[in-house]
Amino acid sequence: MTPASDNAITLTRKDLLGLKDLSRDEINLVLDTAESFKEISTRTIKKVPTLRGTTVINLFYEASTRTRTSFEIAAKRLSADTVNISASTSSVVKGETLVDTAKTLEAMNPDIIVIRHSCAGAPHILARLVSQSIINAGDGFHEHPTQALLDLLTIRQRKGGIEGLKVVIVGDIQHSRVARSNVYGMTTMGARVTLCGPAILIPRSVEQMGVTVETDMKKAVRGADVVMMLRMQFERQRSIVFPSIREYSQLFCLTGDTLELAKKDAIVMHPGPINRGTEIAPEVADGPRSVILDQVSNGVAVRMALLYLLAGGRQ
């Protein structure tokens, strides 16, 4: 067999906890690898033996059909064994601490643990405690790195690159892990990011992340290459701060008219599931500029790439 050292590439990290600490080269590596993996999902036999004998635990402390399914399909297409553990945070409060859970999982000797948790930093705590690779599938209002990577892949496919693009992210920035991960990823890749949303849902000092803040949606969208709408999650807020969904929609729903202000070839993204009529008008969500379904299929490819790149990286 030809030696693999030529052109050998790797993520020199045990875990993927966030995009904040990923370099441009690392992001490109994940996107390039994901691009190669896309082909597998088009085959009749959508499975390669690469991760045979590898165990992936999906540890979900927060309900999520999409992300969990996407990780599960990704793992299975690489022939890894997957185990899904659904735990509710309330049962955790009463009983087992995260440290106990970590020790228990470690004793079962999986290879990769994918964790979603309603508390920011839970994956970081887990990563310190166990030798397994940890992939953050969303922690509180902090990061959702695989979502941002699939967004970056989608943008790269549609726009040929990311550098220099004007990206507008609209919605509840304060409570959005998708926004944070995308800000880190996109600024690292050289995009100009504008955050837009109600003033009370813009987190303090967010400009220090190297972004522009705009509370007027029309101004924000003007000249944009990419318009990313966030899911309005009233249930995530500490207390319902915005007066009403109706008022929110009046100000921040992406309609065909607003989209006219963006560049002619602008694309519309949404992490899903969409609230039709709340943050995005149905005709825009289903319109020709919408790349929402590309995002979903890219999600599987990006997660396959990450599982592949992180597997075997345990020290």
């Binding site: 067999m1 050998a8 690898t33 190669s36 390669v48 690469t50 004998g53 590898t54 075997g312």
Partner: protein, 177 residues
Amino acid sequence: MENKKRIVMDADRIDRSISRIAYEMLEDNKGAEDMIVIAIRTGGILLARRIREKISHIEGVEVPLGILDITLYRDDVIMRGKKPKMGETDIPFSLDDKRVILVDDVIFTGRTIRAALDALMDFGRPRLIRLAVLVDRGHRELPIQPDYVGEKLPSAFWEEVSVNLSESGGSDEVLIL
């Protein structure tokens, strides 16, 4: 190390080998019908194109050429910390019931071919698969033998056998490093 490098096949020998392989293939197959050439990325690609050209020259037909990346089928991919860079697999046609000629430049331990066979099975059910290589350097670790061989070149296990074809620059030659 530069001084230890020696040329073991020159352009003439390479061309004669490729011609012979092409003729043997056509003879076994009784023509080019249902024949598909699959190159193993990356070493097999240029060689497979040369073989296809020869067939076209002899028979006047273009046999389909596919490219197979075997990275994800390697048996050592998870064991090593570093991951080999992946290439694209490009087999835009069915392999069902076809006579597949798998092409690689050098056969060594046989593990690459094992991976390639597994990969091919995921693309369909060929009627048969034959293996063509330019150089057989020995040291097999699996019971796999090529059907068409340019030359058998005994080499030491630690040596590197390098096939260079002029399409990638330089001249046609096989070197032992």
